[in-house]
């Protein structure tokens, strides 16, 4: 591109990143600061490390925490996958994937098995993670105690003193009101028997996937400027009571497209007659099951073709 050459005379650029921007968008000093925070987060599993979060070229709430982590992680040997509520083809996922393809030239994929870094908004892929993978979570509110104690100075003390009784009170209130623990997402966990951690708003269905996971899990909160981590093979226990043990959601239905009974299902309203169906929230899992010849009861219908990714994509 002549425009790039004009701006950067004599620069031999191995990647196609934008002229005038450093590799990976952030400058090296910012990356070193975030990288130091990531290492401390890994060394203290579940503890929230404050970091000097930067403004990113998108608003808070769009994954600025996760993006800053990915910007510090990604390199030429990586394969990058982004999911938004399990889907690879929604606006947030498409824009973040494009952003990193542009600023790092990283190879992107929609296949869970091929990715080395997976940035996610609120799901853990259904396909089992592997040892060489890093999960990057976009976190809106990193503090699990925030709902019971709004003051940061107090929650810091509570974490320092392991003063966590109040979390069980919150779960108990659920039981008193609903007869069961009604918290379905952002379900608090205890990491390696020490810190109580917010697993980001993943459904509690995904909580067991964090326990002794072979992958490294990094969490980034852009607005709240916190980084925390769950290293591989780390004990992650969802809080519960002896008489009300932790349970994940289950469905009576199977996925309408691929027939899966073991995945997290989203309910989709089909038309004004109130017809509805359940589909896998993890689009890669659903399409790879269909590629293997598994089909659900709705797979043949023309009006759901768009859900199967067979109609023209706007991305």
């Amino acid at each position: 591109m002549t425009y790039q050459e004009d701006l950067m005379p004599g620069k031999s650029d191995a990647t196609d990143n934008d002229a005038g921007y450093n590799y990976g968008y952030l400058n090296e000093q910012t990356k070193r600061m975030i990288r130091r925070a990531i290492l401390k987060a890994v060394a203290i599993p579940g503890y929230q490390v404050p970091f000097a979060g930067r403004e990113m070229p998108m608003p808070y709430g769009w994954g600025t925490g996760g993006i800053q982590l990915s910007a510090c992680l990604l390199g030429p040997n990586d394969v990058f996958k982004v999911i938004d509520q399990g889907a690879d083809d929604t606006t947030n996922a498409v824009s973040i994937r494009k952003f990193f393809a542009r600023v790092t030239g990283v190879e992107t994929t929609e296949k869970t098995g091929e990715a080395t870094v997976i940035q996610t908004r609120h799901r853990i892929p259904e396909a089992p993670l592997q040892e060489d993978q890093i999960m990057v979570y976009q976190v809106p509110i990193p503090e699990p105690l925030r709902w019971v104690e709004p003051r940061e100075s107090e929650t810091r003390k509570m974490h320092a003193l392991e003063e966590y009784g109040v979390m069980h009170v919150q779960l108990y209130e659920d039981i008193a009101r609903h007869g069961r623990i009604a918290t379905n997402f952002m379900y608090p966990v205890k990491v390696d028997g020490r810190y109580i951690m917010c697993p980001s708003p993943i459904p509690k269905f995904d909580n067991p996937k964090l326990d002794m996971s072979p992958a490294l899990h990094l969490f980034g909160a852009g607005r709240e400027k916190r980084i925390y981590a769950v290293p591989p093979y780390t004990d992650v226990k969802s809080l519960d009571f002896e008489d009300h043990p932790f349970q994940v959601e289950s469905w009576d239905a199977c996925c309408g497209l691929c027939g899966a009974r073991d995945s997290y299902l989203d309910e989709v309203i089909l038309n004004d007659e109130g017809e509805r169906m359940f589909v896998c929230s993890d689009t890669d899992y659903c399409s790879s099951r269909r590629a293997q010849g598994n089909f659900g009861p709705m797979a043949g219908r023309e009006d759901v073709a768009e859900l199967m990714g067979e109609s023209p994509q706007t991305a």
Binding site: A14, N22, Y23, G24, E28, Q29, K31, R32, M33, R35, R36, A37, I38, L39, K40, A41, V42, A43, I44, P45, Y47, V49, P50, C72, L73, L74, G75, P76, R156, K157, H159, A160, L161, D192, R194, Y195, P214, L216, A229, P231, P232, Y233, T234, D235
Partner: protein
Amino acid sequence: MLEHRVDTTEQRATDPALDNQRIFRAILLTMSRPGTVTTLGNLPGHPGGLHPASAAVCMALVDMDSPLWISPDASEDVATHLKFYCGCPVIRKQEECSFGLVLNGLDLPDLERFNPGEAEYPDRSATLIIQVASIEVGHGVRLGGPGINGQTLLNITGLQADFWESMQQNRQRFPLGYDVILTTETEIVSLPRSVQVEI
């Protein structure tokens, strides 16, 4: 004070952004999987006594925001080199450093004096880079804890024997503590404070 000459002839040939990324990922891999050894490669042009792997770790992590303490046996060249390339202050007070560089693992300073962080902010603690002779996996000290599937064995030569007791004491005060990166000439292995050591 004498001005010390910095050798700038051996500029790193590749893009520093890509170098830093590669080195950081190697450190992250070892820090998240204690007992896993990675090779950082042999970047040339470092003063005597400073392992290329230690220099690489400093390049990737240390800068003006993270004061560096260097063991007193180091030559002035090492301090000058790191000051120039990392842009970091090199300080004398062991208690105040973010990074502590120990050139000889057989001559450790009092590790207790490194900053272990505060109860509310355990991340404000030191990271130690300790140079050793060799790293072998498969026999030696037994390691467990987060990042390790079951247990792993690690044998280090060129490291003071009481180091492992210090790591045990370090674990006792979790979440306070320091984190350690052991470096040979070209390889690193990391021991975060969460590691459990069985001697």
